[in-house]
Amino acid sequence: MSQTIDFATLEQKSKIKNIILRWSLYFFLILFALYYLAPLYVMIITSLKSMAEIRQGNLLSLPKEILFDAWKVAWGGREYDAGNVYLRPYFWNSTKMVVPAVLVSTFLGAMNGYVLTKWRFKYDNLFFLMLLIGSFIPYQAILLPMARTLGTVGLSNSVLGLICVHSIYGIPFTTLFFRNYYISLPNELVKAARIDGAGFFKIFFKIILPISTPIIVVTVIWQFTNIWNDFLFGSSFSFGEAAPIQVALNNMVLTSTSVKEYNVDMAAAIIAGFPTLVVYVLLGKYFIRGLTAGSVKG
């Protein structure tokens, strides 16, 4: 069957269709970008306005005068306003909490992943499964016993207590990441090293760890982001001075003593969100890898 094909018209029709599609594609992409960027934009300009301007203008209006006063208040508070929450001490609390917790949970996760993939034994899959389920449970199920335990050992309302909590509950995730990464490393590496006489720890530190950089970055970013952003543990296990930054932010926003100061709220939100945002912008592709690695179980 041979048909006479009108190539000319076909060529015309598809050209036009393609152009329309391309333009609408870019239109929608930009529209959505605006939707996602809008809150960030609003946060920033609101934090730079005076309360008077905020009341006069609206969400999107640019500040007529750029003031950093809100930022100073959000960070350091006011001298004459003792009793109001401000972020500086809690920022440092979070820092003191995040660094050890990330290091401990990442290191343990790496060790666990190494054992589970290169030193297999009976029931090791069962162990991994139990670990995995541990990462799914809603933490509401352990809040009460953990609160009591921390109280019993004298760690309630302390940064050290939070470090312990985050380290423990980070283990399932970090183990998952490392295990999935190490499983694709050839077992021959370890076998060859054993024949060469190297032992368990030597193989880990001299052979496996040096080639683990990508997954270490992914895990550290993931843990850093989750622990810095935590609110549940922070608000359940600490109340005053040991509180992490997200708890402080929430308290600051909720306490409405006299007048609500939206510019201070926004500045505080930016300060609280800044570290994880910076990490994301600089190391975004590792962030994405962490997201997709954690969900594609295999």
């Binding site: 069957m1 048909q3 094909i5 076909l10 060529e11 598809s14 050209k15």
Partner: protein, 365 residues
Amino acid sequence: MSTLNINQISKKFGSVEVLKKINLSVDQGKFLVLLGPSGCGKSTLLNIIAGLETLDEGELLIDDYNVNNVEPKDRNIAMVFQSYALYPSMTVRGNMEFGLKQTKADKKFIDSQIKKVADFLKVDELLERKPSQLSGGQRQRVAMGRALVREPGIFLFDEPLSNLDAKLRVEMRHEIKKLHNKLNTTIVYVTHDQIEAMSLATEIAVMNNGIIEQLDPPQKIYDEPNSLFVADFVGSPSMNLIEGAIESNNEGLFFYLKNNNSFRLPISNYNFNNNSYDKDKVILGIRPEYISSREGILNSNYETNLETILVETTGYDQNVKLDLFGQEIISRFPPNINVKTGEKLQISFDLSKISLFNAIDGKRI
């Protein structure tokens, strides 16, 4: 069936010239094979014919219309891929009717087409299965069925047999040949396997580094390669390429080795093209089947004694590697002759099918 014309087509990827002013034409019903090593540009050319790649320069004509800017779906072509590319979430029937459905063809017509093709390719029992439930050979047949159902003007094949095991490959090769014989379709077929090319093509375009080294029917490519590249690429074991020189005296024309005056092959009957060449830098090409024992040769023009280096048996003959005064050549011996390594044997040469090449540019003299 459609005709295809490729005029001066060039294509670059970044700074790499992948196709350099290619010229080609395929008449109705012809089976053209694009043969070459990886990276020679054959797949790129096929993709350009399909409209899946754009060309930088030149024209592509289907049925004499310039289709440079026409979408793949409007070119009336069909393609069979190396990985079969069947739609995993559809049944075999779904895969085969997908293309027709896009043209909003009548349901009755679609069903009758599918029945026709499924019977022809013997996949009628598999119509309700999903690709994951099929074997490699079945998948390949469904892929062909998907192409056949649309009755296109040109069939394109992109290394369709590379993923199959050796036995299946031979079977499917025969299927494709039968298809061509029965339907007389215009086909452009890409492969790096010269046996496939030789057995399927009406014409082979041997490609290397973005150009066509030779465009001829299979037997001509085999007997009269245009260049060292073609001579070496086609034929297994490859053609023997002997370095030497040509001398002309009152007894005629001779090819001799530079380090041994005793070996002189008479080449007066050779059909020279009018190429200029340096008489001292010549390469003589002769296929292993034209070097053998007295009994193994139809037509002996020259005989000498040579030492055997290595013997390999294939079952139906023996490949015997010989020492030709410092150069190694391969000869073919019948299986029943006992050949030992290190022996000196009497070797006969059939010079009716030799090729001479210019050692400097590799072209046929």
